[in-house]
């Protein structure tokens, strides 16, 4: 069965600083990987998704992620964080040709002025 682990429950960065949120996946085959963001009292919104191909994926609002098969990772990055990025970020994995997503526990991002 597939699963993802987000080792950092909370991350705090200063506005304008760079960001990396970590995600490790566990899946025997080729995974399909996703990052979603959840703003307070809202549903989840897709930031980006990886399908087998280019390991670096560009998403919305300046986010990108890099797939690494050797490290079983799919870390999320942003060069310069904005206060509006304050939210909870979820990594998710899906089997190929199957839409059910399995989510990690989430990382709560706090942005300091």
């Amino acid at each position: 069965a597939q699963s993802v682990t987000q080792p950092d429950a909370r991350v705090t960065v200063s506005e304008g600083a760079s960001l990396q949120l970590r995600c490790k996946y566990s899946y025997f085959g080729t995974p399909y990987l996703f990052w979603y963001v959840q703003y307070p009292r809202q549903g989840l919104q897709l930031l980006l998704k990886y399908y087998p191909g280019d390991p670096v994926v560009q998403g919305v609002n300046g986010f990108e992620a890099e797939f690494s098969k050797s490290n079983s990772s799919f870390h999320l990055r942003k060069a310069s964080v904005h206060w509006s990025d304050w939210a909870v970020y979820f990594c998710a994995v899906s089997e190929s040709n199957y839409n059910v997503l399995y989510f990690g526990s989430g990382t709560k991002l706090t942005v300091e002025p």
């Binding site: 549903g43 839409n99 059910v100 989510f103």
Partner: protein, 114 residues
């Protein structure tokens, strides 16, 4: 496009009462998913429909929980004899139903069982 609509936004029930949660998927989407979100367990997959047919209910508790999709415009999640441990945010999502398609989530229904 109003997105995925979930009603009610908040529901409070007494222990032992029934709760029915509603989800209206995005028009034209053929797949509907239900998830449960709690602080302790995080986001848990419950069940999923494609073209109104139940495809996978492996995440549904075996007792008291049921889900239906009587037509393409709505799905319901019913919890009988609610218990305090059922308190959670229940999220519905829809997708076009093709493989690797994006899931679009509603804002959720917060269920509080007193």
């Amino acid at each position: 496009n109003a997105g995925v609509i979930q009603t009610p936004r908040h529901k409070v029930t007494g222990k032992g009462q029934e709760a029915t949660l509603w989800c209206e998927p995005i028009s034209g989407h053929s797949a509907v998913f239900w998830y449960r979100q709690t602080i302790v367990q995080g986001l848990e997959f419950l069940t999923y429909f494609r073209n109104q047919a139940p495809i996978d209910d492996s995440g549904m508790p075996k007792e008291r929980f049921s889900a239906q999709m009587p037509n393409q415009s709505h799905s319901t999640l019913k919890i009988q004899s609610t218990q305090p441990q059922d308190s959670a945010v229940y999220l519905c999502a829809s997708s076009l139903g093709l493989s690797q398609n994006t899931l679009y989530f509603g804002a959720g229904t917060r269920l509080s069982v007193l």
